[in-house]
């Protein structure tokens, strides 16, 4: 009969641990996506005062000429400096699972821009042809949104754009994007400026130099930053998940602590005579205390184990949330990293210790004679 109570308490702890893992895995996935985006040699240039590629007004064509000729830039096979003028737009697409529509980022760039992101590879179809209304979608977008298969079209600018390929971004933030030709966009929307410019330096030292040079040049009114820094700042996307998630985890954790306490008190009461006998044999109070705390810990760790196993099937599941920097969906996957597992274990250990301490203390304090007589 006592087994039943133990199993139920462990299950309660398992539920709490499941929620902790779920939330931490979401945040770890988000962090991963943004941390793996960007090359250390790349410098992103935005208009001064703006913190998003989505901002209006950006880099004028004249400023672009200046940027193109800066020293320290890497060159491509044809000997041209690696500088890519880009733009970002947001369009609404319907989700495949029928949960409504959401904003999706489209990045417009040139073939040079493609060359500067070697991690992004085409997995189906082909890249867009410059000068055509063609787009290439990421594998995640292709999975999550309706009307994004090769051959489908979507309307924006002055006409319909056809999907001609699917790319894999290697788990980076580009997984949330659709890519298309920048010059076609400029023609469609009569744009004379780029919203951002990506430059590739020869090495990280030159990248730092380029960044400072762009930011310090008063004529340009531009701001340079490392591409990696720009994406790292977008980890703030997980803010709401973090706040709500921790709130839920802590409240459920406290509930579980009280439940564990209940079970442990019952165990102590049930074994009152046993404890007294142990004391008579010569076990000290501290060792009784430790044994009950350890028992409670074992219970919590058992729960944690069940929780971890329960969450395993969800590892790698992709989902999305809104990115406050681009106002569109950031696609990411749940990642049960070792760090996440550790955190869940620590959470369980805290629950087990707090739940077991008071009953264990009571057990060690009981009068031997009174207990034996019970």
């Amino acid at each position: 009969m006592r087994k039943g109570a133990t199993v139920m308490t462990a299950l309660g702890i398992a539920l709490t641990v499941t929620i902790v893992i779920f939330i931490m895995a979401l945040l770890a996935g988000l962090r991963d996506a943004f941390a793996t985006t960007g090359e250390p040699n790349n410098v992103l240039v935005l208009r001064k005062g703006s913190n998003s590629e989505l901002a209006a007004g950006g880099v004028e064509r004249e400023a672009m000429q200046v940027l193109r000729d800066l020293p320290g830039l890497a060159r491509d096979a044809k000997g041209e400096n690696l500088v890519s003028g880009e733009d970002i737009l947001v369009i609404v697409l319907p989700r495949k699972d029928g949960t409504g529509e959401t904003n999706v980022t489209i990045r417009f760039l040139s073939p040079t821009g493609l060359e500067m992101r070697p991690k992004v590879k085409i997995v189906a179809g082909r890249w867009f042809t410059p000068g055509q209304r063609e787009i290439v979608v990421s594998r995640s977008i292709n999975h999550r949104f309706a009307k994004t298969n090769i051959g489908d079209t979507m309307f924006f600018g002055k006409g319909n754009w056809t999907v001609v390929g699917v790319f894999d971004s290697g788990g980076s933030a580009h997984e949330s994007e659709i890519w298309a030709d920048i010059n076609q966009l400029a023609a469609d929307l009569d744009r004379t400026q780029y919203s951002s410019v990506l430059m590739q330096a020869r090495d990280p030292v030159n990248a730092q130099g380029l960044k400072n040079r762009v930011s310090d040049d008063q004529r340009l009114k531009l701001n340079g930053m490392l591409e990696t820094e720009y994406y790292a700042q977008q980890t703030s996307t997980g803010g709401p998940i973090k706040v709500v998630g921790w709130f839920v985890a802590v409240v459920m954790g406290i509930g579980s602590i009280f439940a564990a306490m209940n079970t442990m008190y019952a165990a102590v009461a049930y074994r009152a005579r046993e404890i007294a006998t142990l004391r008579v044999i010569g076990f000290s109070r501290p060792s009784i205390l430790t044994s009950f705390v350890l028992e409670s810990l074992l219970l919590a760790l058992l729960g944690a184990l069940v929780g971890i196993v329960l969450m395993l099937p969800f590892n790698g599941m992709t989902t999305g949330t809104s990115n406050p920097v681009t106002f569109s969906e950031a696609v990411f996957s749940l990642r049960m990293t070792p760090g996440v597992i550790w955190l869940a274990m620590i959470f369980a250990i805290i629950m087990g210790t707090l739940g077991g301490l008071a009953p264990a203390w009571h057990a060690s304090r009981r009068e031997i004679l009174a207990s034996l007589r019970d």
């Binding site: 299950l11 904003n103 706040v243 009280f258």
Partner: protein
């Protein structure tokens, strides 16, 4: 001794166990009440009667694409449309990036803004003052209170999206049934500060002549701007807001799964306690039956004991949630989501109902076993 008294006495015979159970259930129900409240605020609350009459017209491709300003008069000419006002989201920064300094700024037309947003109230003289000052703004009363703004104050807003900054004079403070977290200024300011955007509008707020006409008006507007370079998408204000929530991700599934986990957790806790306490009383049950208590009576006794414990926990939990939400609505970081949200009586009732059901289910099986017990067996039981 009456039956009720018997049940209460029994419920608290082991004070520590009952207290721990009640507290544990209370925490779980706090969470459940919180989640139901958020669900209601997001998906069920319809807003004020005036908001049911409003529509939002945006560029069909997405909010990021602008609409021409001449659409306004074309929309106004459609049957069923009473008022139309332009709005442009400025996306600026007040002071710094801290979440407590976050609010929205919209450029709009002071002449017609309060005609469309009739549920926002402002005194006539403040309205006139705003209409006269091209760099004036009106601010939400809650925001004004939070930041200590008074009439005549100057607000400096740094443009993040637009390459221009705003220097606004507070000319009016409006009240709203739901906190708007917004300030409104004259759209002319953007037109002049960033001429590249002249003649461009973010979206339109449209007031229909009746709530019934809302779907018809939406259809008319979108048909009017169908085969053009900048097609529109018009939806009710409520649907528009739901779109923002949908962007956060699969919120519905998230809330539902947490609610399920919570309910299951309380079920476990409650069942555990009841199993323990009933097992302890096997001999008593036999005694009660010897005294002439029927099986049904015994069952009833135990079940009502569990239900009252669960209800007590539920009551503490829901009240705790109400208090928590009141506090959190003013805390930085989450206040953006919880502004104007409160735990209503229906939500509390739902939570208590869930608690009662859980109490009932958790006690039924052990209590049923106890009631079926053979008297002689029970008396011989050593617990």
């Amino acid at each position: 001794m009456t039956l009720t008294r018997f049940v209460t006495k029994n419920a608290f015979r082991n004070k520590r166990r009952s207290a721990l159970t009640v507290v544990s259930i209370a925490f779980s129900l706090l969470l459940l009440t919180f989640m139901i409240t958020v669900w209601r605020a997001f998906y069920i609350d319809q807003g004020s009667a005036e908001s049911a009459q409003r529509l939002i017209t945006r560029n069909k491709v997405s909010l990021v694409f602008w609409l021409p300003s001449y659409y306004r008069e074309k929309i106004r000419a459609l049957p069923g449309v009473k008022n139309v006002v332009n709005e442009s989201w400025f996306g600026g920064q007040y002071k710094d990036q801290k979440p407590e300094n976050m609010f929205m700024q919209f450029g709009t037309d002071p002449q017609e803004f309060f005609e469309v947003f009739k549920d926002l109230h402002i005194t006539p003289d403040q309205l006139v003052a705003w209409q006269k000052d091209r760099s004036g703004c009106v601010v939400d009363a809650e925001l004004a209170k939070k930041h200590g703004w008074k009439l005549g104050d100057r607000l400096f807003i740094k443009g993040l999206i637009f390459p221009m900054n705003l220097e606004l004079n507070v000319r009016g403070i409006f009240t709203s049934p739901q906190p708007t977290q917004s300030i409104y200024f004259n759209h002319v300011y953007i037109d002049e500060g960033f001429p590249a955007l002249k003649g461009r509008v973010g979206f339109y707020g449209v007031l229909a002549d009746s709530p019934e006409n809302v779907p018809k008006v939406a259809q008319e507007i979108d048909e009017q701007f169908h085969n053009v370079e900048r097609p529109t998408k018009t939806e009710s204000e409520h649907a528009f807001q739901l779109g923002w929530i949908a962007m956060m991700g699969n919120v519905k599934a998230f809330i539902l799964s947490i609610c399920l986990a919570v309910v299951f957790a309380i079920l476990l806790v409650s069942a555990n306690t009841m199993a323990m306490s009933i097992r302890e009383r096997t001999r008593e049950v036999a005694l009660l039956k010897t005294l002439g208590f029927t099986r049904g009576r015994v069952l009833l006794l135990f079940v009502s004991e569990a239900v009252s414990l669960a209800l007590l926990g539920g009551l503490i939990g829901t009240l705790g949630a109400a208090g928590f939400i009141r506090l959190a609505a003013h805390a930085p970081g989450i206040s953006f989501f919880l502004a104007g949200v409160s735990v209503g009586a229906p939500t509390m009732l739902v939570s208590l109902f869930v608690a009662a059901i859980v109490g009932f289910v958790s006690a039924f099986l052990p209590a049923y076993h106890a009631s079926q017990l053979n008297i002689v067996e029970g008396l011989r039981h050593i617990g």
